[in-house]
Symmetry: C2
Subunit: 321 residues, 2 copies
C-alpha cells in the first residue's frame, strides 16, 4: 500500500503550494478566547476552531490538497481511504468538489452521523471491523478493485502539508505564541504543526495531547520507536489510530512532549469548553485542554495555541449525560 512506499517528507514549499491550492475550498477558521479558561489555566489560550472548518474538521485541509493536486487522469479514477470518520468526510467533500468518486472504508462502529455525512457528500462506504488490522485488509481489497488513488488519513506527505496550513494561519492570527497543543492520533495534525513551526517559528514548542487509554504515541515517544496498539478504547474516537513512519519522522524530531489525560478529564474538559467557549467540538478536541489543566506548570504565563480539531459529534449521545 502506498503509505508503506511513499516516504517523501513534505517541505515548507509543499505547505505554501498546498495553502494556495486549497484556499478556495476551506475556511480560514477563527480563533476564540475565554477569560474564564485563561483564569482556570493561568495561561493565555487561543483556540483555533477547526470545528468550524468545511466538513467539520481540519482534515479537509490535507484531503483537499491531495484531491486537487491530482492530474486529471489520476483524478478520473477517484480517491480512496480508510478513516475513523473525519478524514472520510473530508475526502468525500473534496472529491465531491472536484466531481470525482471517493471510496471509504469505515469501522462498522463509527457514529451513524458520520456515516450519513460521508454518504451525504457522495462518498461510497465499505464497512470493516473496528481494528487497524481489519481496516487495512478490507481497504486493500477495495483499492485493488477500483484503482483509486489512496489518500491515507495521515501518513501521506500531501495530507501533512495540507494540515500544516492550520498552524500557519494560527501564527498569522496570534502574535507571540509560546506553544501549540494539538491532539495526537495518527499524528497528521501534529506533524503538520511540527513542519510549520520548525520552518518558520522554531522557538514555539509543540505539545501533543493523547488519551491515557490510547497512549501509543506517548509510549512510542519515550521508547524511541513506533508502538502500535490494535483497537484501543477511548471516548476520543478520532485518536485511536497509531503513528506511521512519516508522522513518526516529525513527532520524534520536533515534538516537545506528549501529554496524556484520562477519560474523565477529557469529558470534563469537553463540557467545560462547550460551556465557556460555546462551541460544539468532539471529545478528541478536548484532550489538549485536559492536558493543559493537568499540567499547569508547563503553560502558566504563556501564550498557547490550542487546536480544536473537529466538531463532528453525535448530539444525541453526549459523553457527560
Amino acid at each position: 500500500m502506498k503509505d508503506m512506499i511513499d516516504l517523501t517528507v513534505p517541505t515548507w514549499d509543499n505547505v505554501l503550494e498546498a495553502h494556495e491550492r486549497i484556499r478556495p475550498h476551506i475556511h480560514r477558521t477563527p480563533v476564540l478566547t475565554s477569560s474564564v479558561l485563561n483564569r482556570l489555566t493561568g495561561a493565555e489560550l487561543f483556540f483555533k476552531c477547526e470545528n468550524f472548518q468545511k466538513a467539520g474538521a481540519f482534515k479537509v485541509r490535507g484531503a483537499s490538497n491531495a484531491v486537487f493536486g491530482l492530474s486529471d487522469a489520476e483524478a478520473a479514477r477517484g480517491v480512496a481511504t480508510h478513516s475513523s470518520g473525519n478524514h472520510a468526510l473530508s475526502l468525500s467533500y473534496a472529491a465531491g468538489r472536484r466531481g470525482i468518486p471517493c471510496h471509504v472504508v469505515m469501522p462498522r462502529t463509527a457514529p451513524q452521523a458520520k456515516k450519513d455525512a460521508v454518504r451525504g457528500y457522495g462518498g461510497v462506504i465499505t464497512e470493516c471491523e473496528p481494528s487497524t488490522s481489519s481496516r487495512e485488509e478490507v481497504f486493500a481489497k477495495v483499492q485493488s478493485e477500483t484503482g483509486a488513488d489512496f489518500v491515507h488519513p495521515y501518513n501521506d506527505p500531501r495530507v501533512i502539508a495540507g494540515q500544516a496550513t492550520c498552524s500557519r494561519e494560527l501564527l498569522e492570527q496570534v502574535e507571540g505564541l509560546d506553544a501549540i497543543v494539538a491532539p495526537i492520533g495518527g499524528g497528521g495534525m501534529v506533524s503538520g504543526t511540527c513542519l510549520t513551526l520548525s520552518s518558520i517559528a522554531p522557538n514555539v514548542k509543540v505539545y501533543a495531547a493523547e488519551p491515557e487509554q490510547a497512549d501509543d504515541a506517548a509510549r512510542s515517544f519515550r521508547a524511541g520507536h513506533i508502538i502500535a496498539d490494535d483497537a484501543p478504547s477511548t471516548v476520543a474516537d478520532g485518536l485511536k489510530v497509531p503513528l506511521k513512519d512519516l508522522t513518526w519522522h516529525f513527532v520524534s524530531r520536533h515534538v516537545t512532549d506528549i501529554l496524556t489525560a484520562s477519560e474523565q478529564e477529557i469529558v470534563d474538559a469537553m463540557r467545560l469548553t462547550w460551556a465557556r467557549l460555546k462551541i460544539v467540538m468532539e471529545p478528541s478536541s478536548a484532550v489538549p485542554l485536559a492536558t493543559i489543566l493537568k499540567n499547569p506548570e508547563l503553560f502558566r504565563g504563556q501564550r498557547v495555541g490550542v487546536v480544536v480539531t473537529g466538531g463532528n459529534v453525535d448530539l444525541d449521545r453526549l459523553p457527560w449525560l
Copy 2:
C-alpha cells in the same frame, strides 16, 4: 420605576458613543456561515455569533454602556435590574469590571447555571416568582432599599444604544445584506437593530422572530399597540418578556414583520444549528432560523444576517434529549 419615566429615544450619536465606551469590555464577535444551511434555506445566511460575546450574550453591550456611562457618584450606589438571565449576567459582568455592586431580581425558576454564573460575576440575587408582575413588585423593593441605578433589561435608551452596536459590526463584517433577523422578547436587540439600520442602512429589512407560544410582540405589531402576556411558556426562555414603550417605539416604526415558530420548530432549528454551525446557543437564538426555514419565500436568494443572541444553556438539559 425608571422604565416608566425615561422615554428618551436613543440616537445614532448615542450608538457611536456607546461603541467607543464599551469597546474595551466586549468582543467583536465573528460571523459564521454554513453551506448546508444556505442550501436548506435557499438564502445566504450570516450568523453574528453573540453567543461568543463576553458573559455569553449580546446583552453585555447594553449593560456595559449603562454601567460605564454612569458618573462616579452614581456608580458608587451600584446598579440593579430584573432579568430572565442574560441581562443579569451581563450587568453583573459590567459592574464587576467597574468594581461596583450589582443587585439582580431573578425568577426562582431560572436555570441554576444562570444563577451560579450571576453569583460568579459577583451579582447579588433576590428571587421572585416567574411572572412579570411578581418580578416588578420584588424589584421595586430591592431598588428602594439600595438606591442603585436601575438598568432595565431592554426598555432603557442606554441599553438599546448598546445593543445597536451589534448590527453596526455586522454591517461592517458583511457587505450587501438584504435583511437581518433577530429574536424578539422585550425588543432590546430588535430596537437596537432598527436604530442602526434606519440610521445607516435604511434599505435593509428588519425581521423579528418570536415563539408562537409567546407571540405578544407579533400580536402587538398587528394590533398597533402593546399587548402584554403574564408568564407565557416557551423553550425560548429569554423571549418571555413583553414589549415596553421605548422598544415599541422602534418595533412599531421600523420592523418589516414579526414571524413566529412553534416549539418543535425552534428545537429542530437549534439542533440543526448545533450540528451544522458547531456552536452552542440558546433556544432563543434558534427562533430566527426556525422562522427562515418556515418562510423560505421571504428570504430566497437574499443575504440575511441572523443574530445568535446568546449561548447560556444548561448542557445537562438539552431540549431535544
